[in-house]
Amino acid sequence: MAGFLVRRSLHGAVLVALAASLTYLLAASALRPRAHFEQRNPRPPAAVVDAELTALNLNDRTPLLRRYAVWAGGVLRGDFGRTLAGEPVAPELWRRALVSLRLLAVGTVLGAVLGVLAGAYAAARRHRPADRLITVGSFAVLSTPVFVLAVLLQLGAERINQITGVRIFEWAGEYTPGAAEGALGRLRHLVLPTLTVVLVQAAVFGRYQRHLMLDVLDADFVRTAMARGLTRRQALVRHGLRTALVPTATYFAYTFGFVLLGAMFTEKIFGWHGMGEWLIDSVHRGDVNAVAAVALLAAVLVLLAGAAADIAHAILDPRVRAGR
């Protein structure tokens, strides 16, 4: 077992190193941080731009491999370099990752759970009105771009605020700066973004789960369970749903990592400054070190997701536990 873990960790480390290095090389050769300075008016003196870029290890006149060596050496020591604006990358990465986590954790989990329940229920009630309603609802959500959904929610919340005359909903940022509102204020600011994430996540997982559930609905083991005296509902929940959850759990683990990075629109529309926003802004700015750091974190997250998926699999699937 220990050998297996060591092997797996080594394997993972190699993968992370490869993914991060390739991203760095791609970003460093494709992005043009110099343009960030050259577009200014008045344009800064050329010598100053060169000095600043060199200090940030972003100078395109330094050979790519030398820049890579500097960057990689830093990463090995835990130093991810500095952003184009001169801010150390590592602390910013943590700040941003935690912001994303706070923004998305509740919504992602809640959305997945609701989606699984809705999907399972829809499958059990296949072709009845309840199923149809869930299907139409989730397709409506899935076909709406996230930022439109978010703005629609904002418009609705604004309307409610107007009608009641009280500002029930607030959504700009994580909290109101300067206001002594404490945890309650943070919760209030979480409502709309969480709702956005929940809706999207539930729609995706609902669809997925419904199909998985349909596969097991008439499976032999469900019928066997019923033959042993369980009601249909008991058989479906205890045996059917459990089986159908295995792929969902894997899927959830893998999506979670990407949700952290992919929540760009949710973050932008609600004014949270997390990873998604950072990645997209950094690409726009030509911020090589920031892009590389996000890629590195993404690679780590995917590996962790893989491990988490395996564990979930082991818990849900008795054959895995019993087999070895």
Binding site: Q39, R40, N41, P42, W171, A172, G286
Partner: protein, 564 residues
Amino acid sequence: MRTLRALASSSALLALLVAAGCTVHRPAGPRAPDEMSALPASDVNPTPRERLRTGGVLRWPMPEFPVQWNFHHVQGAKGVVNEVLRGVMPYLMRSDERGVVRPVPEYLDKVEVVTEPRQVVTYTIDPRARWSDGTPITYRDFAAQARALSGRDRRYRVAAVTGYDRIARVERGRTDRQAVVVFARPYADWRSLFTPLYPAGTCGDPRVFNEGWVNRVPVGAGPFRVESIDRTAKTVTIARDPRWWGRPALLDRIVFRVMDPAAVPGAFANGEVDVLDAGGDASAYRRALSVKGAVVRRAAGPDWRHLTFNAASPMLTDVRVRQAIMAGIDRRALAEADLKDLDWPIRTLGNHFFMHTQAGYRDNSGVIGRYDPDRARRLLDAAGWRRSGRYRTRAGRTLRLRFVVPATQQISKREGELVQAMLDRIGVRVDIVPVPTDDLFDRYVLPGNFDIVPFSWLGTPFPISSNRAVFARPKGGNVQQNYSRIGTAELDRAMDRAAAELDPAEARELINKADRLVWEQATVLPLYQRPQLLAVRADLANFGARGFHDLAYEDIGFLAPAAR
């Protein structure tokens, strides 16, 4: 300071929103009569302080989070930094709405200029003026800043050396409170110098200059002081500073918070921020109009829209062809198309240096800027481009131009389509080339990979200093910001003379002379001065669409209940 406002990608996002079915009701906005004689220079609801209450918080969204707070550092010279620091740092000079710059009495009691035998400016510093750490503001601060920004010491990573490179030395006057600045060469825009002023401790030490203001504002001298910088929520709070010796600030605080432009309209509608820049796109503007308790303040902004022609491109090397293209473009129609939803009077801009609202503005467009397709045809015939079929050809080549537009910008695309249709009438083929918005300058405009490109420049109260790099003749492949890649010795001389002329009236005359030369070479076609539409809470005073007018932050406030 960020000049190229071509990157308003959020407008595309919001346009999409409208298309996706969000109903935005269009209330009857105040229509601007076309015959309105002048564009409003500034609209800030000027109100005497007695009618305002003491207290309140202004919540002001900003587009990005600054890291470097030294405005003179290459990383710090940004519009957002300037917006915050104007409340905190000593900005010794302030422009009025016509772009006329005067000393701020809290910092300077007197400023005297001597021109003969050489330019000497004597600043008499107000005896009350102190840095927030208690140190008096003295000639030493001037001397250190002049030295640091001169460009002579490479260790200072300065944003620009303009003007400072002309200073020979800074001396002590009769007292420490007097700075005598001696120029080696005359400099007309000397009022742009020492604003903001940084303490000698910063400018005297390259390490402090480069690193001492990263994520902090260690010292200030203004009506506000920086209270907190929150790097997680990306907010900067400045609070009234009791040590300020001038009129105390009316507001308790100003909270600057970073927000994506796409997020601001919603936050503004819900009363979570007090300011919304509604000039960028029509849907934000309409949303702002519908917000209860808010008004849209409107003034002619300092930035101007234009088309730049690449005179180094084979099709456009001949000045007659460039003049023909200009004559074939109906500038008014372009301005109408761009501005039609913004309730803004349509006025084409006739000057490359001065804006309509600026002292010295004159319409120099003359014959060259007039829409005249017949003249265009004659010029093209004379240049040897003859009609054969739909388009003109010469020596077997068709006269076709690449009109480069950033792909996410509807406004540029529309301009391209209009120009395409207009030039088609005179037999010139225009191909619209959409390019990734981030690549526009980097890969197309800077290397000269275009024929025509539309974007905006930012006007300043110092037209020669800020435009010299745009129109100066390229030297040895260094085009600076002259994306037309052409110039003349005569124009360079005209700009140099204007830059050295210390009499303001005479300088304006010389700048207009330079402008006529720019018109003649037909490289940059000004379209219009962009409107500044700022939605704010209706009871906010001494704040709004400011045009060239620099705000006195201590006077910003909310109306007292009785005065409402």
